[in-house]
């Protein structure tokens, strides 16, 4: 097939990665064991090729105006050197995409999902027609996420780029490199945006220093343990941020900022959403998967993401449940109703369990 290849494609193949198509790209799923890669990130350091992500420079006099119109969070918070996470909404409050916007001296850099590239570019351009703003897609940039408790130390050792003074969601620029303290794993670390031609050298040096290559499969279990949503799975245009555990990403002040979707969202906020996104931990053997039914005290719901958590040793998931659902529930796995409990995500942060309540019935410990 004719999937697109990242600048690191040959490195993955040489490392015997299992490659899989993802949003039109040939990406590494794992390099042997996704569980080992997961543990490497939680315990030391791992690195992900995320060059398939869409990087868009938004520049021009009206760059901020466009982003303040289209983002539910306020990009004005992205002063130079700072990044802001947020969502783009349609008029009904449905989520078009989630993204990170980095504030720079010359405009903004947005990193959006690979799977939503076309619709996001069209959406932004559609609203920019009467504005003095330009969207430049940066296909010349590669992106490597270095994550884990030892990630920044090892990154500093091979690049001499010290990020000690860098706070979360802050970044620095060194020549054509951008080094941001962001990620999708719930661990400390950096995401590096650099010229595509320099990606292989960085990858090899990190590997030599003991940073484990990790694939999209480990990225999925890590992000789910961290309680982070995946676009297209946990959220889409049919649901709002209030229904997706993303109320914190909506900037209601200043009140005069009339971002797209605000009216619909304000109405839902006043009426309270009927469904919300919560965490579910399974109390017995089995693995929750996308689409499995959940029975709760407040009615039925559905698992949006489910995996076996390598850190915890049992299955965890995100589920869209009726508001008010709490405590014990059951998840339908094939013919069985398996006991589970509703918790507040995240499940794991900085290598440790974060939710308070116990699982309904402890299964045998396993690794």
């Amino acid at each position: 097939m004719s999937e697109r290849k990242t600048p690191l494609y040959d490195e993955h193949v040489a490392a015997d990665a299992r490659m899989a198509p993802f949003a039109g790209w040939a990406m590494p799923l794992h390099y042997g064991s996704q569980i080992a890669e997961h543990h490497a990130v939680r315990r030391a350091a791992g690195m992900f090729d995320v060059s398939h992500m869409t990087v868009i420079d938004v520049v021009g006099v009206d760059a901020l105006r466009l982003l303040r119109l289209t983002m539910a969070n306020d990009p004005a918070k992205a002063v130079p050197g700072k990044a802001v996470y947020g969502v783009l909404l349609n008029a009904g409050g449905g989520i078009i995409d989630d993204l990170i916007v980095y504030g720079r001296d010359a405009g903004y850099r947005a990193v959006v999902n690979a799977s939503t590239r076309d619709k996001v570019l069209n959406w932004l351009r559609g609203h920019a027609s009467a504005m003095d703003v330009e969207m430049r897609e940066r296909t010349d940039i590669a992106m490597v996420a270095v994550q884990g408790p030892e990630a920044r130390a090892r990154f500093a050792a091979v690049t001499r780029i010290d990020t000690d003074g860098l706070g979360p969601f802050s970044f620095l620029e060194r020549d054509a490199w951008m080094v941001a303290r962001t990620g999708y794993t719930g661990e400390d670390g950096v995401e590096v945006l650099l010229p595509a031609a320099e990606a292989v050298a960085l990858w090899r040096r990190l590997k030599t220093s003991g940073v484990a290559p990790a694939g999209l499969a480990a990225r999925d279990t890590l992000r789910l343990e961290a309680g982070l949503n995946l676009y297209g799975q946990d959220m889409d245009e049919q649901v709002t941020p209030l229904e997706s555990n993303l109320g914190w990403t909506v900037a209601w002040t200043p009140e005069e900022r009339d971002f797209i979707g605000r009216t619909a969202l304000a109405r839902q906020r006043a009426e309270k959403p009927a469904r919300v996104l919560k965490g579910v931990v399974l109390g017995a053997k089995g693995v929750m998967r996308h689409g499995y039914g959940v029975a709760t005290n407040a009615g039925g719901g559905v698992v949006t993401s489910g995996v076996f958590s390598p850190t915890l040793g049992y299955s965890i998931g995100l589920a869209r449940l009726p508001r008010g659902a709490a405590g014990d529930c059951t998840v339908k796995i094939r013919a069985a109703s398996v006991p589970a409990r509703i918790v507040r995500p995240p499940f794991v942060r900085d290598g440790k369990r974060t939710f308070r309540s116990e699982r309904p019935r402890a299964g045998p410990a396993r690794r």
């Binding site: 794992h30 569980i35 390598p310 396993r366």
Partner: protein, 133 residues
């Protein structure tokens, strides 16, 4: 390329069967464990359970997906691999050894002839694998 021992028989659904002293040991192939990725749970049949060839008899769950395991021949379950309860990773590490699932006393050992020999199974995996990518 994945390992396909010549002395075994294989099902299209990727189980292997080994006839020894009148008992058929069943597991999943190297190709199957590789495609599944890290195995985290195995649901085994009950001892003394009677099964017909092609019946769903066990489930293997990896981080990625759940897969049904089918009985390759008809018979009675005479042993299950309890060790997989605490060490499901054995399915990945030794699919033809410690990673076996269960043993059947076959109703008719001749049913094994309905399964594929190693070379036919290898061809089957190649077409299956080609479809995947």
């Amino acid at each position: 390329m994945s390992d396909t021992p010549a002395e075994l028989r294989y099902a299209a659904s990727h189980e292997w069967a080994r006839l020894q002293d009148g008992v058929v040991t069943v597991g999943i192939s190297d190709f199957a464990q590789d495609a599944l990725g890290d195995v985290v749970y195995v649901e085994l049949p009950e001892l003394d359970q009677e099964v017909v060839a092609g019946a769903e008899i066990a489930v293997v769950e990896s981080v990625k997906a759940a897969s049904d395991i089918y009985a390759p021949v008809s018979g009675t379950v005479v042993a299950i691999n309890d060790a997989l309860e605490d060490a499901p990773e054995r399915v990945n590490q030794a699919p033809y050894g410690d990673g076996w699932f269960f043993k059947l006393e076959p109703l008719d050992p001749g049913e094994l002839d309905n399964l594929m020999a190693a070379d036919a199974y290898r061809d089957h995996c190649e077409t299956d694998g080609a479809r995947e990518s």
